[in-house]
């Protein structure tokens, strides 16, 4: 959050977690701190927010709009996080929005100069939802540091579209908008490759997934919820109860988790 007129004074009192239905498509913007999320946000929505060069400035979600190919897109700038494990408030805000805010597309802004660390977040997001676009940002800095990235290979490995950009210079933004529109309208359906875990985790997750599916009715990725349950994530259970009205701590499920874990 820069100290903009959206973020200071009386407007700080306005809480904005879940947006009202806007008619257009809802796009979430996630990414590591300092990967250039806010710059991408500005470049897409047209200079609405000052971007400060310091981590943690986006505590509230900033939002803006843009139109492309006749569609309206509402863009939500999430706090920068290294993971979605809900270790901190930022991570929880970002995760809750991606899970329960029902964005049509989640764009993960990635710092091309330190790909490995940024991919951790990408993989966690693709585990949650299929509708993901990776925005490989800071390509200009990567070029200057002579880092070469095989973009088609990266896209194949991740199973989601990867768009190289240099948002500060406006490079690649048209392509990014095209890709966001394609995924939002369903013209492009990313199929991220699942991460394969150890055999016993897979067995436990598979069993839980089957039991969760009828309860979640497709509103959340059941395999992902199963994995979080195995991790012992309390905040997610609260989120599921709060936003979906499904109480996973009811006795039936409790028994099943117990069974699986034994």
């Amino acid at each position: 959050m820069g100290l903009t007129n959206q973020a200071t004074g009386f407007r700080t009192l306005r809480e904005n977690f879940l947006p009202a239905s806007t008619g257009g498509y809802l796009v979430a913007l996630a990414g590591n701190p300092n990967a250039g999320k806010s710059t991408v946000f500005n470049a897409l929505t047209g200079l609405k927010q000052h971007t400060g060069n310091w981590p943690g400035k986006t505590v509230l979600q900033a939002r803006g709009k843009f139109t492309h190919q006749g569609h309206t897109f509402t863009l939500v700038d999430l706090p920068g996080t290294y993971s979605l494990l809900a270790n901190s408030v930022e991570e929880q805000v970002a995760r809750d929005f991606i899970c329960f805010g029902r964005p049509d597309v989640t764009v993960v802004v990635v710092d091309a100069t330190c790909l490995e660390r940024n991919l951790n977040l990408v993989l966690q997001v693709t585990e949650t939802t299929n509708a993901v676009v990776v925005c490989l940002n800071l390509m200009d800095e990567a070029r200057r540091k002579r880092i070469a990235i095989d973009v088609p290979l990266l896209a194949r490995e991740l199973g989601v579209p990867v768009v190289p950009t240099a948002a500060r210079r406006g490079e690649g933004l048209a392509h990014l908008k095209d890709t966001i529109a394609a995924v939002a309208t369903g013209a492009l359906c990313p199929g991220p490759a699942p991460i394969i875990y150890d055999a016993d985790i897979e067995a436990a997750a598979g069993q839980l997934t089957r039991q969760l599916q009828p309860l979640l009715r497709g509103r959340l990725n059941a395999r992902w919820v199963a994995l979080r349950l195995l991790e012992g994530d309390a905040t997610l259970l609260q989120g599921i109860q709060q936003f979906l009205g499904v109480d996973l701590s009811e006795p039936g499920i409790k028994l099943q988790v117990k069974e699986v874990l034994v």
Binding site: L3, N5, T12, D150, Q238
Partner: protein, 466 residues
């Protein structure tokens, strides 16, 4: 707080998972990281030395034990020196333009045979207050905000946090409080919301309660103007500008010291506990986009703050004019109100009008000086054109000395937060106790500090006279 209510199913799951050799969480995370590493190693074809040479060297200086603090202070001083030096002339120019227009407005009202009270409210109340706000506040803000934004853009703020981390830790507070402190310099309400980046509820409360010690946008113009008049001798000499700069920097440093002190005190009394650790990534230095920074900071901050001041100052100006011109008996309402506050004001080296201006300024700190001027000016006439000199003359005519000015600056630093900030604190803490405490602590400190200054000045006077 989320996460504190434990679910029975979770307790069960944790118990069972704990029995296993590796916890599921560790193994899941490990698999994830391995996958990320594998993909990255295939996709990145050419990777040179991973870390940035230049950044390393710059950080070694900017965050060094020896140079970190001097550089921080020097940067702060340069920013305010430029602000004070640069704002003087445009301020005078704006004032003469705006007050020339007031004469035109007045003659227009006369020609239209408008009633005197209408002319009073609209021209002497609203317009004159507005003119003061614009002439006095706009130029320094138009210089200060772009400079501050440039530092922010360069990536200097996290280095400040890094430098101050040790102090915050010693005060029992969270290192991220340095970041919320910096946000507070922009706007305390934003700083309070920014405290959400601090996870521990105890440390977040510390940061929320002490954020008010960062003088915000609304208070900087007061500090800069008063320092310019009384410590800087109207900024006509280089020594004057230097003295005014040092005063403003001193006030800010005092605010930071008070933030540490209050955090330390609270973490040993009301909010006991140990500070938690955190990771702070020092982002790469990036060349600031100068033109964009200037445009954005002028549009987003300067004009926004000004608009807020104008929006609040116009009705407040009219309201104050009415208070100053409706008489009950021999005195106006404002005289009565100031009269009640006068004894307290005098004890702490202020006066009743000043305290009243701070009270009426609750909606926004930007309007404290305009309200004060309104109540001083309700009877007097404005003659000078140079804004600083004219302002100084009015204040001196009402008994101000440099001690009064210093006390007003101190009280501006240490008094209750503005209404918006108090509401924000209430919203963030969901309890009336914390906004109340956030108002009581600085006010008590402010009154004590002003009293002390007056006492010391009195002693000095006796010594000098003897």
């Amino acid at each position: 707080m989320a996460g504190q209510k434990t679910d029975p199913v979770l307790v069960e799951a944790q118990r069972l998972a704990g029995d296993l050799e590796d916890s599921y969480r560790d193994r899941i995370v490990a698999a994830l990281y391995a996958q990320a590493e594998a993909i990255a190693s295939r996709a990145v074809k050419e990777a040179p030395a991973p870390r940035r040479e230049f950044d390393w060297r710059l950080d070694a200086i900017l965050t060094s034990r020896l140079w970190g603090y001097p550089i921080m202070l020097a940067l702060l001083a340069v920013v305010f020196w430029l602000t004070l030096k640069g704002a003087n002339y445009p301020s005078a120019l704006l004032a003469s333009l705006l007050f020339a227009f007031q004469d035109i407005l007045t003659s227009l009202f006369h020609r239209l045979d408008a009633p005197a009270w209408l002319h009073g409210i609209v021209v002497l109340g609203m317009y004159r207050t507005l003119a003061w706000v614009v002439a006095v506040m706009l130029p320094p803000m138009a210089i200060f905000f772009p400079l501050f934004t440039l530092l922010e853009d360069l990536g200097y703020l996290p280095r400040i946090a890094f430098n101050l981390d040790n102090f915050f830790k010693k005060a029992g507070a969270h290192g991220k409080q340095a970041l919320t402190m910096c946000m507070g310099f922009g706007c305390n309400a934003a700083g309070v919301v920014g405290c959400r980046i601090i996870d521990s509820p105890r440390e977040r409360l510390l940061a929320i309660l002490t954020n008010n010690f960062s003088p915000c946008n609304g208070r900087f113009p007061t500090l800069i103007t008063l320092a310019g008049i009384f410590m800087g001798g109207l900024l006509t000499t280089a020594a004057g500008v230097a003295a005014a700069t040092l005063t403003v920097v001193g006030i800010i440093l005092l605010g930071i010291v008070l933030m540490f002190f209050t955090s330390w005190l609270l973490s040993r009394t009301l909010l006991k506990g140990v500070p938690s650790s955190f990771t702070l990534e020092l982002p790469p230095y990036r060349p600031p986009q100068v033109l964009r920074v200037i445009i954005r900071s002028v549009l987003d901050r300067t004009l926004y703050v000004l608009a807020r001041a104008v929006l609040v100052a116009a009705p407040a100006g009219a309201f104050t004019w009415v208070l100053a011109n409706v008489h009950l008996g021999a005195f106006s309402i404002i005289d009565h109100m100031a009269g009640w506050l006068q004894p307290l004001g005098k004890v702490v080296g202020l006066d009743g009008y000043i305290l009243l201006a701070f009270i009426l300024g609750l909606p926004a700190n930007e309007i404290v000086i305009p309200i004060l001027l309104m109540s001083y000016l309700s009877t007097g006439m404005l003659t000078e054109v140079n804004s600083l000199a004219a302002l100084g003359e009015i204040l001196v005519r009402h008994g101000w000395t440099w001690i009064t000015a210093l006390n007003v600056m101190l009280f501006s630093l240490m008094h209750w937060p503005c209404g918006t900030t108090l509401l924000t604190i209430y919203k963030e803490t969901k309890s009336l106790k914390w906004p109340l405490l956030a108002a009581v602590i600085p006010t008590a400190l402010g009154l004590a500090a002003c009293f002390l200054v007056k006492l010391l000045a009195g002693l000095l006077d006796i010594v000098a006279a003897g």
